[in-house]
Symmetry: C2
DNA sequence: CGCTAGATTGAGGTCAATCAACGGGTGTGG
DNA sequence: CCACACCCGTTGATTGACCTCAATCTAGCG
């Protein structure tokens, strides 16, 4: 559970520029940011913050996965977002200076960059480019949340799982029949607004359709089977969209 | 269904400055924006745009209500957001320049301000203050969506209705036992991820607890009955929060 | 090798959806 | 002014998708 600091003061401007949020910033600002930013490795299970805590630090995932989740009084818990490489965590709360709206926990061993919240808030106000990058980041998260609300409300359990697998297949770029589930099944289930049991049973239905499932490795019977779960938003991230290879049309 | 143009070119900088999004902007920019902005009255039922349509205009609600909704292939429909006075519509898509992520329809007779999407996109890039205001707007929407996902996943039907009534009570400011449902019950139901039937039955449960419900007028038996449905996020908008009058502690 | 955490499977229960019928207000046209 | 239609909301009966609870299985690991 111990987390080691890779570089307390990373001092690496180059690392920052590779992040969408920091693209195109002037050198002076990058220098300043790199001085206050911390890059650390975190073990699976590490709690980053709890909901309603004051927003002290701003985090960006460099590698690994962080889950943003909420609990209620009866102990139930639901995953709001799973954040992967290059994604920012709770950026809206950081900007508004309000308490974290949900809790965050490291879902798989990860490397995170963090910056004190007041500093990033200030720099957004001082630098127009950073502000624009921030709008882009939040906008994308906003879009994916709309997409997610839609999914959990209008899709059945099978459709949600199909949609999730399709997104994984598209993200993994190389057109392949192999998909790897990136984090625990219980988390995928909660993210898809279902219980682990239902998720397991649903995966079994995919087995019946010719999928091979061995722990976290999923093999599709055919490259295009998942395309029936596609929608406009998902398609826009697919590199076969609007090409001859897209079976939807 | 005919909609009349109040002022094709409003020319009223003063109206713009009263909107959070346009607060603190230089006069030149306000002048420019007021020249291209249109203020119109729209009748209930008017479709503003459909999902996947190219994002041509940016809308702000001046008065009334607009619903943002999604449909699926089987004809089901779900309300993602209900947007009231001073709220912006689909601002994330406008900024990103992607197609509208959902459809929008006027839920109650409304007055809307609209600006061609390319112009607002350009001005956000030119003016830091506007960009900051935009971050604030999107951040708030982002927060409320997180709040909403939480509500639909972790709360029961009764809790969702209680939560909704509480939010109405808090918004209406004047501490009163009277609440008015701002739009059709079927829309409230869909927004709360339930059917009109379930919503009706749930309201009946509140009647049994002493609520009086006559069409769209709800009377509470006691100012504090809804406080059991309060959470941190909701509390932060309540003017009795952290005062002696707050029954929660 | 036993231990534990994660995942699977089965049986049973439940909340909310569905289907269907009805009521009451509103608007329209004769 | 009344008759009719229509829409919205309500109510009742039934269904079903998913959850809950509990037992079992599997894989990693000290």
């Amino acid at each position: 559970m111990k987390s080691s600091i890779i570089k307390k003061q990373s001092g690496e401007k180059s690392m920052l520029t590779s992040l969408p949020l920091f693209a195109g910033l002037p050198d002076v600002l990058l220098e300043k940011l790199s001085e206050v930013s911390q890059v650390r490795e975190y073990k699976k299970g590490k709690l980053l913050f709890l909901e309603n805590e004051p927003c002290s630090r701003f985090y960006i995932v460099l590698s690994g996965w962080v889950k943003l989740f909420k609990g209620n009084a009866t102990g139930e818990e639901t995953v709001l977002q799973m954040l992967g490489a290059n994604e920012t965590i709770a950026e809206s709360a950081v900007f508004l200076g309000v308490p974290y709206p949900a809790s965050a926990q490291v879902a798989e061993d990860s490397v995170l960059l963090s910056i004190p919240a007041p500093i990033i808030r200030e720099e957004i106000r001082n630098n127009g480019i950073l502000a624009l990058n921030m709008v882009t980041c939040i906008s994308k998260h906003s879009q994916s949340m709309i997409h997610q609300i839609e999914a959990t409300r209008l899709k059945s359990a099978v459709e949600r799982v199909g949609w999730f697998l399709l997104k994984l297949a598209i993200e993994s770029k190389h057109v392949s029949k192999e998909i790897r589930l990136p984090y625990d099944k219980a988390m995928i289930a909660s993210f898809l607004a279902m219980t682990p049991e239902t998720f397991s049973r649903t995966l079994k239905q995919f087995k019946d359709r010719g999928f091979k499932i061995e722990s976290d490795a999923v093999t599709l019977p055919d490259i295009n089977v998942l395309c029936t779960f596609c929608d406009e938003e998902t398609a826009s991230h697919c590199n076969r969209h609007e090409t001859a290879e897209c079976p939807i049309k």
